[in-house]
């Protein structure tokens, strides 16, 4: 027993996908979050930074965006611009999951 652990090591694990909502300020700092606390914060910060980057780059290229959605095969990230910051919705996608859409204001 445990032969695979001995060969491949015991800490190999599939990355958990984040689910929930995060609001970040214009500096990329998390203001509020409903994502599980077991999800690594550095990754959450990376998401926030990249999303803010997308909005910033779009503004710099004269095409400001109010909303951006990144569709990966197992995760959807939808972000709405919020006075320089953003509200970010994280939806893990599975074969049986419906695709919830945050209600428009």
């Amino acid at each position: 027993m445990g032969i695979l652990k001995r060969i491949f090591g015991g800490d190999a694990a599939v990355q958990q996908l984040p689910a929930g909502t995060v609001t970040v300020d214009r500096h990329g700092q998390i203001v509020t979050s409903t994502v599980s606390s077991t999800f690594p914060e550095p990754l959450l910060l990376a998401i926030a930074r990249d999303v803010l980057d997308l909005f910033r780059l779009a503004r710099a290229d004269q095409m400001p965006l109010a909303e951006v959605s990144l569709h990966f095969s197992s995760l959807r990230i939808t972000a709405r611009e919020l006075r320089g910051g953003a509200i970010i919705f994280l939806f893990p996608q599975t074969a049986v999951s419906s695709i919830p859409t945050p209600a428009r204001q």
């Binding site: 996908l17 990376a46 980057d53 780059l57 004269q62 095409m63 965006l65 990966f72 197992s74």
Partner: protein, 358 residues
């Protein structure tokens, strides 16, 4: 003994029916003029009588004229159709012609130009079922490619049966996409290419066969483009190949036509390797290409860190427009849509990108 042709007039207005009947009875061929005041009654007559021309009003309760024409074109493809409208509306006119109507006439004009109208209807009565000398029956100025495009643009499902003398070809269309073709012993794309080489013939719409096996998966626009190129090459074997400039111009025109047809504002492509970009429909190609490349990079990096799998697409919404970004191979595509567009932007973008690449 010579049989009299039969005309059926469909209108919910009894006075108009009487007027129309009186006018058409004076035609030189003395047709037998039947009338119906609703679509149900008209269909019953069409089932039992050999009608040559149907004259239908456009606005009627329950089933309107366009719906009626659609039914008639499908169930009675040999019947000539005339639409009478009280409204001068270009949209109705183009929709009617897209359905294969032979004649669209305003009711006011019909009274004012009674002689001309009578001549037109008489001409329709005189056309037999034989194949025309040139073009396709009912749409002499249209090529088969135009006819197929009209069928597909209307998102209809049908089987298009095309005959040229003893030759018979069939094209299966499902929800506006070509799914199968048979022509001169060939099937699938090869059959489609052969069929498009036909310059004359007659066609008719048969009921759809949704269970028919699919042998063609390409988007209809890609198929048409390939077939057109193939036909150009075979029809001009002795001519010099297009210069690079002509070829480029032709491609640009094709792409612009695609863009307009789908209703997109612009398409920008950018190579992920060398950053080389091109675009149509916008003067802001460099900035858009830059954002596209950067967004693709950001998404790739994020996807890898989160182990979220490959990127399907990025959708963006601004105050004036919406955008869909797709990465295909080493190329990223950014498709811009008007702000009010809402339906199937992803599917439409994918289709556009597929035809763009082809």
């Amino acid at each position: 003994m010579e049989t009299r042709h039969k005309i059926l007039i469909l209108d919910d207005d009894a006075d108009w029916l009487a007027l129309c009947r009186e006018q058409l009875s004076t035609l030189p061929s003395h047709p037998d003029v039947l009338i119906a005041n609703n679509a149900k009654r008209a269909l019953a007559i069409l089932e039992t009588e050999k009608i040559r021309v149907l004259v239908s009003d456009l606005k009627m309760p329950r089933i309107d004229g366009l719906q009626m024409i659609g039914i008639v074109r499908r169930r009675f493809p040999t019947i000539r159709t005339v639409v009478l409208s009280g409204l001068e509306d270009e949209e109705y006119r183009s929709r009617a012609y897209a359905l294969g109507v032979d004649l669209f006439w305003l009711k006011t004009e019909m009274q004012r130009s009674a002689k001309l109208f009578n001549e037109c209807v008489e001409s329709l009565l005189g056309q037999g079922d034989r194949d025309g000398d040139t073009g396709f029956r009912g749409l002499q100025s249209k090529s088969l490619m135009d006819i197929i495009q009209m069928e597909c643009l209307s998102r209809s499902s049908s089987v298009l049966r095309v005959t040229r003398g003893p030759l018979v070809a069939k094209l299966w269309i499902q929800d506006g996409e070509i799914t199968d073709a048979e022509c001169e012993g060939a099937r699938g794309e090869a059959a489609f290419r052969r069929l498009l080489a036909w310059k004359t013939g007659a066609f008719e719409n048969l009921p759809p066969e949704p269970d028919r096996e699919h042998t063609i998966d390409k988007p209809v626009n890609a198929l048409l483009l390939e077939s057109a190129q193939s036909n150009d090459e075979t029809s001009q074997p002795d001519t010099e190949p297009d210069s690079e400039e002509t070829s480029l111009h032709r491609k640009t025109m094709w792409k612009l036509a695609q863009l307009t047809r789908e209703g997109a504002e612009f398409v920008v492509t950018v190579s992920m390797e060398d950053g080389k970009s091109e675009g149509l429909g916008t003067q802001n190609v460099i900035a858009l290409a830059q954002w596209t490349k950067q967004a693709a990079e950001v998404a790739r990096r994020l996807g890898e860190r989160l182990e979220a799998g490959p990127l399907s697409h990025i959708a963006g919404q601004g105050a004036e427009r919406q955008m869909v970004m797709l990465v295909n191979g080493g190329q990223a595509f950014l498709v811009g849509w008007p702000g009010e567009s809402s339906e199937n932007l992803l599917e439409k973008s994918r289709k556009l990108v597929a035809s763009w690449e082809s």
